[in-house]
């Protein structure tokens, strides 16, 4: 048992490979060959050789850990055969409701139509960044172009998942708010007017 190990350890590439294994297991983002070379204090060529070795060792079907090359570089992932187990590990309990901030933001996007974070913030009178981020993460709203074309602020609209969660056939079946405004534009003006009055 010992002798083959010694033989391997004598090989310097294997030492580099072990360092690369260490770096990849502690990294929270994919690492490029250059980042690995800098951290390992070694040549990029030797890092590439080590990566070749590791790609074989950590390959689908051979190991539960798989070395993957992605846009940003190299990272470990779980093997596909363990996908179900991983899904169970990351499963989250069903959430009952939304926070007031999220609900208000969602209501604005749903009723007023595609709108940007600055707009939501103006209507609500407080920053909307985290509410928007959490709604995007939950898949209830999604990006829908930019205000005034390129360079403008990103706009958001509701998703089909939003309609499913709220039991709506379409946005047209939202409870009517005719007393506040007949069209989304009127509604938006009304909300901005009130927000300004509130701020003054």
């Amino acid at each position: 048992m010992d002798s083959p190990l010694r033989l391997i350890a004598a090989n310097p590439v294997d030492h580099v490979a072990r360092t690369v294994e260490s770096l990849l297991v502690v990294a929270s983002a994919p690492l490029s060959v250059h980042e690995l070379a800098d951290a390992a204090n070694d040549d990029p060529e030797r890092i590439e050789t080590a990566l070749g070795l590791l790609r074989e060792r950590y390959s689908e079907g051979r190991c539960g850990i798989v070395l993957e090359q992605v846009a940003g570089g190299f990272a470990f992932r779980a093997s596909r055969e363990a996908a179900e187990a991983c899904a169970r590990l990351f499963e989250r309990p069903v959430e009952r409701g939304l926070s007031q901030a999220a609900l208000e933001t969602l209501a604005i996007v749903a009723y007023v139509g595609p709108c940007s974070r600055p707009e939501v913030a103006r209507i609500r009178g407080v920053a909307a960044d985290s509410a928007v981020a959490s709604l995007v993460e939950r898949g209830l709203i999604t990006e829908a172009g930019r205000e005034g074309g390129l360079g403008g602020a990103v706009r958001y609209r509701t998703t089909p998942l939003f309609e499913r969660v709220f039991g709506l056939e379409s946005l047209a079946s939202l409870p009517r708010l005719d007393d506040l405004g007949a069209s989304p534009e009127e509604l938006r003006d009304r909300l901005l007017e009130v927000a300004e009055a509130r701020a003054s």
Binding site: S28, V70, A78, F90, R92, E104, L106, I108
Partner: protein
């Protein structure tokens, strides 16, 4: 050997390096915490110094004993800032036992802290990832079915015109001070002391502030004594040991390290500290 040798005794402690008299000066100026000073190490240094001499100098030993016992007293006091009066109620043997128990407890905690430091350095080559792996599955958040009326309600809230500007809300509503005066008096008729923080901790901040005013009022009229272990520590309220209108002797409030001075000065300092506590914690 002159007695000055004791004061020149070179010390090499964790918290201090230099001659003994400088250590004493720093302690008296409160620039060094007495609890940081390892008295045993000083004793050993002294014994080692004595061992280097050929003869036993009683005068030097005497001076050392006086200084080291003063240091021990300082250290003991520092460990019980708030409970001097409580200790005073104990029999001397009990007090000594309590003192020894607490000194031992603190020493053990210091040793535990030292062990943690050692552990940190021995584990400094153990690296692990904090947080999710780069290619970990994105946990899916599932939301239960929601009522669309909630959206309409949220928007109605946002569309509601603001109320006409009124300064009415500027006037904070709070209960009268007298209510707390009575409450604290009745508490003290049943108990000898209570913790202010525990008593009012559940009240809104404004009411806590009024309660504090009531407390200051009772203190002013000499009905109660106040003590606090340290800034921001809970305020302990106890029945004044003398129910006369005159404030108690300064020693009883040693918990608030006030400069020895006229009563008014001390009292002002008490109030200041307490107000500072409230302002910072609010």
């Amino acid at each position: 050997m002159p007695a000055a040798t004791v004061r020149q005794l070179a010390l090499d402690l964790d918290a201090f390096e230099g001659p003994f008299d400088l250590l004493l000066t720093l302690l008296l100026k409160e620039e060094l915490e007495p609890r940081e000073v390892d008295v045993a190490a000083i004793v050993v240094s002294f014994v080692e110094l004595m061992a280097e001499r050929d003869e036993l100098d009683l005068e030097v030993c005497g001076e050392f004993l006086v200084l080291i016992s003063a240091l021990l007293e300082l250290k003991a006091r520092a460990l019980f800032p708030d409970e001097a009066s409580e200790l005073a109620e104990l029999e001397p043997e009990e007090a000594a036992e309590e003192l020894a128990r607490r000194l031992a407890e603190y020493r053990r905690m210091k040793e535990a802290a030292a062990w943690l430091v050692q552990r940190l350095s021995s584990e400094s080559d153990r690296w692990f990832r904090l947080g999710p792996a780069p290619l970990a599955p994105q946990p899916e958040r599932t939301l239960a079915a929601q009522d669309p009326e909630a959206l309409a309600g949220a928007l109605r809230t946002l569309a509601a015109p603001p109320l006409a500007v009124s300064l009415g809300h500027m006037a904070l509503r709070f209960p009268p001070v007298s209510q707390f005066l009575e409450r604290f008096r009745s508490l003290l008729s049943r108990r000898r002391r209570f913790d202010f923080d525990t008593e009012v901790g559940m009240l809104p901040r404004v009411e806590q502030a009024v309660a504090l005013l009531a407390l200051l009022e009772l203190r002013k009229s000499g009905e109660i004594d106040l003590s606090q272990a340290a800034p921001f520590a809970p305020i302990r309220v106890s029945k004044a040991s003398r129910s006369s209108a005159a404030p108690g002797p300064a020693e009883r409030r040693s918990a608030l390290p006030a400069p020895r001075g006229r009563e008014e000065g001390i009292e002002a300092l008490d109030s200041e500290r307490i107000l500072e506590w409230t302002a910072r914690s609010a």
